[in-house]
C-alpha cells in the first residue's frame, strides 16, 4: 500500500497532471492520451480477474460497451448530467454482470472464458440489431455530459482530466482491494481453488464479487467514452475488442495492476502510430502477443525476473 504513495508514484501522477500544459500536447494528443489512460484503466480492472484470480474473461468488451450505451442513451434523451450517466451505467452494467457472473463463475478455466464470450456476443448482437439503439450505426452525435450546472466536459483537456481522475480512483480502489484480505483470498483461489474451498472460503462468492468489481470499473470507463467520442456503437463490444483488452493485460504483465495500465496505454499509442504508417499493424500485435505468451508469460514486467531475480507477481 505504501508503495502506491512512493515518491515515484507521486512523480508519475504529477507528470500526468501537468501533461496538458506541455507545449506539444495538441488537442489530438490529448484525445490520444484520453484513450491511452482509459484503456489502461480498463486493462487494470481486467487484471483483477486474469492476473489475481486466474479467470480469463473474454467478454469485457460487453461491460465497456454497455457502460457506453447507458451513458449514450441518457445523453441522447437530453439527460446530460455526468453523474446520472455514471449511475445509470453502474445500474445497467451491474445487473448484467450479476447475471454473467452468476453463470460463468460456476465454471472454471476455459468454460469461464467461453461463457463470458458468449454472453458478450448476446449483448453485441442485441445492440447491433435493435433499431431503437441505432442498429449497427449506434447512437451518434451526442452532446457532451455536464459535471455540474452548465459546466460541460466538452474539450479534450476537460475529458483528459476526467479520465485521469477516474484512473486515479480506480487504481486506488484496485490497490486497496488486492492488498486486503479479500485480495489474498483471490490469489489463493488462483493458486489452488480446491484448497481455498477446503479452507472454508465460499469460492464462487469471491469470484462473483471480483467479477462485479471488475465489470463495474470497466463499465464506468465505458460510460466516459461517449463524452469524448460523441457516439456509442456496437463495434465497441465486438469480441475481438475483448481480445484486445486481454492483449493489453498480457503486454503489461499479469497481476501487477500498474503493468496493464502501461500495457493499455502502450497498445493505444502503438496502434495509433503504427497504423498510420503501415497497414500490417495487427501482425505486429499478434507476434508480440505470441512472443509474450511463449517467452514472457509474465508480461513485459517479467523482465525484472531476469534482471533482478525478484518475485514477479505482486502477491498482494
Amino acid at each position: 500500500m505504501s508503495r502506491a504513495l512512493s515518491w515515484r508514484a507521486v512523480v508519475v501522477w504529477a507528470l500526468l497532471a501537468v501533461l496538458p500544459a506541455l507545449p506539444f500536447m495538441s488537442k489530438f494528443y490529448l484525445l490520444l492520451a484520453f484513450d491511452a489512460l482509459l484503456f489502461g484503466a480498463i486493462a487494470m480492472s481486467l487484471d483483477l480477474l486474469i492476473g489475481y484470480t486466474g479467470l480469463v474473461s473474454f467478454g469485457h468488451a460487453a461491460f465497456f460497451g454497455l457502460g457506453a450505451y447507458a451513458s449514450a442513451v441518457l445523453l441522447e434523451r437530453g439527460v446530460v448530467s455526468l453523474w446520472a450517466c455514471l449511475l445509470f451505467a453502474v445500474l445497467v452494467v451491474g445487473l448484467y454482470a450479476l447475471v454473467v457472473g452468476y453463470f460463468s463463475t460456476a465454471r472454471r478455466g476455459i468454460y469461464f472464458a467461453l461463457l463470458t464470450l458468449i454472453f458478450a456476443e448476446v449483448v453485441y448482437t442485441f445492440f447491433r440489431y435493435t433499431q431503437t439503439f441505432g442498429g449497427s450505426d449506434g447512437i451518434q452525435g451526442l452532446p457532451p455530459p455536464r459535471l455540474v450546472g452548465g459546466f460541460a466536459i466538452d474539450t479534450p483537456m476537460r475529458n483528459y482530466y476526467l479520465v485521469l481522475v477516474y484512473l486515479g480512483l480506480a487504481y486506488i480502489a484496485c490497490r486497496v482491494l488486492v492488498t486486503s484480505h479479500f485480495g489474498k483470498v483471490l490469489v489463493a483461489i488462483r493458486e489452488n481453488e480446491d484448497r481455498a474451498r477446503f479452507l472454508g472460503y465460499n469460492v464462487q462468492r469471491y469470484k462473483m464479487a471480483v467479477c462485479m468489481i471488475s465489470a463495474l470499473l470497466t463499465g464506468l470507463g465505458g460510460a466516459l467514452y461517449p463524452g469524448r467520442s460523441a457516439f456509442a456503437t456496437p463495434d465497441l463490444m465486438l469480441w475481438t475488442v475483448s481480445g484486445e483488452f486481454i492483449i493489453m493485460v498480457m503486454i503489461g504483465g499479469l497481476g501487477t495492476l500498474a503493468g496493464p495500465v502501461v500495457g493499455g496505454a502502450f497498445f493505444v499509442l502503438l496502434q495509433e502510430k503504427v497504423s498510420s504508417y503501415v497497414d500490417w499493424y495487427f501482425i505486429v500485435i499478434g507476434l508480440v502477443l505470441i512472443f509474450i505468451v511463449l517467452f514472457m508469460p509474465k508480461g513485459l514486467l517479467g523482465i525484472r525476473e531476469l534482471l533482478g531475480g525478484r518475485r514477479w507477481r505482486a502477491t498482494a
Partner: protein, 292 residues
C-alpha cells in the same frame, strides 16, 4: 401443402446444408479441445486459409477437385508447423495460455492473408452450376453436393475414429494422454498429426463453403463464434455431440427465419445456448468436468 413444399422444405434443406458444413468446422475444433485442452481461436483462420489455398490451386490447375485435395494438405502442413512451433511448448502450462496464444495466431494469419491476397472479396466458381427441380422447387446443385460431400466426410471421420488403430489412438489420447505415454506411444506426434488433421478439416470446410460464402480475410471471424457455440452445445470434447449440435444450429437458424426476422435469429440461437447451458451445463454429450 403449398406452404410445406414452397417454404418449409427449402428452409429445411438450407439448414441441413449449413449444419453439415458447420459440423466439419466444429469437429476439428472439438477434437483439438479434447486433446490439447485448447480452444483454438485460430481455427477460423485455418478455415479462411483453406479457401485462399483453394483459390491459389484453382488458379494454377483450373480444377476445383485438385484444390479440394491440395488445399487441405497445405493447410494441414501449416497447422503442423504451427503446433510444433507454438503450442507444443505450452502443453505443461495452463490451457488459458493456449487460448490467448491462438488469439495472437489468428491475428497474424488474418492480417497475413490480407497482405498476401489483398482485403477485397474473392470468388471461387462452383465446379458445376445449374439447379435441380426437387419436390416442386429448384435447388442449386452445388448446395446439394455440399450436403452430400459433408455428410460423407463426417461418416468417413466417424469410421476413422471407430475402425482404425490411428483413430482409436487419438480417442485414447483425448481420454488420457498420460496413460498413452506410458504405453510407449509417441504422444507429441499424435498431438501434431491430430492438429494437422483438424486444420485440414477446417480448410476443407472453408473451401467447400467458398463458392457460396465467398472468400475474404475476415471470413473466419464470424464462423468461429458459431463453431464455438456448436462445440459448447455438443459438449466440449465430444465429437458426436458437435456434429449433432451443428445440425441443430443449422436447422434452428434456417427454420426460425420462418417465424421471425432473420436478424432476431442470431439472438434466439444464443438464447437456446444459454438455456441449454443452464439446464445441462456440459452440453448434449459432454463429460462432467472436462478440464475444469
Amino acid at each position: 401443402m403449398d406452404y410445406v413444399v414452397a417454404i418449409l422444405l427449402p428452409q429445411l434443406l438450407h439448414g441441413l446444408v449449413f449444419g453439415a458444413a458447420l459440423g466439419l468446422l466444429a469437429l476439428g475444433l472439438t477434437v483439438i479441445f479434447g486433446l490439447l485442452g485448447v480452444m483454438n481461436f485460430a481455427h477460423g483462420e485455418l478455415y479462411m486459409l483453406g479457401a485462399y489455398a483453394g483459390i491459389a490451386v484453382v488458379g494454377v490447375t483450373h480444377s476445383f477437385w485438385a484444390a479440394l485435395v491440395v488445399a487441405p494438405i497445405a493447410v494441414g502442413a501449416i497447422g503442423a508447423v504451427t503446433e510444433v512451433a507454438t503450442l507444443r511448448p505450452l502443453y505443461r502450462r495452463e490451457p488459458l495460455y493456449g487460448l490467448i496464444l491462438t488469439f495472437g495466431l489468428a491475428l497474424v494469419f488474418r492480417e497475413g492473408a490480407r497482405q498476401i491476397w489483398g482485403g477485397d472479396m474473392r470468388r471461387i466458381l462452383p465446379p458445376f452450376t445449374g439447379s435441380t427441380p426437387l419436390l416442386g422447387m429448384t435447388y442449386p446443385n452445388y448446395r446439394l453436393f455440399l450436403l452430400v460431400a459433408s455428410s460423407l466426410l463426417l461418416l468417413a471421420i466417424w469410421l476413422f475414429f471407430t475402425k482404425t488403430r490411428a483413430g482409436v489412438l487419438v480417442r485414447a489420447a483425448v481420454q488420457d494422454a498420460e496413460m498413452l505415454d506410458g504405453l510407449g506411444v509417441n504422444v507429441p506426434r499424435v498431438f501434431t498429426l491430430t492438429f494437422a488433421g483438424s486444420a485440414a478439416l477446417a480448410a476443407l470446410a472453408g473451401l467447400l463453403l467458398a463458392p457460396i460464402f465467398t472468400v475474404y480475410p475476415q471470413m473466419g471471424v464470424e464462423m468461429i463464434l458459431l463453431a464455438f457455440i456448436v462445440v459448447i452445445l455438443g459438449g466440449m470434447g465430444s465429437m458426436g455431440g458437435s456434429v449433432a449440435a451443428a445440425f441443430v444450429i443449422g436447422l434452428a437458424q434456417s427454420l426460425l427465419t420462418l417465424w421471425m426476422n432473420p436478424q432476431r435469429v442470431a439472438i434466439a440461437i444464443f438464447a437456446i445456448m444459454i438455456v441449454v447451458l443452464i439446464v445441462r451445463p456440459r452440453g448434449f454429450f459432454g463429460r462432467e468436468g472436462v478440464l475444469e
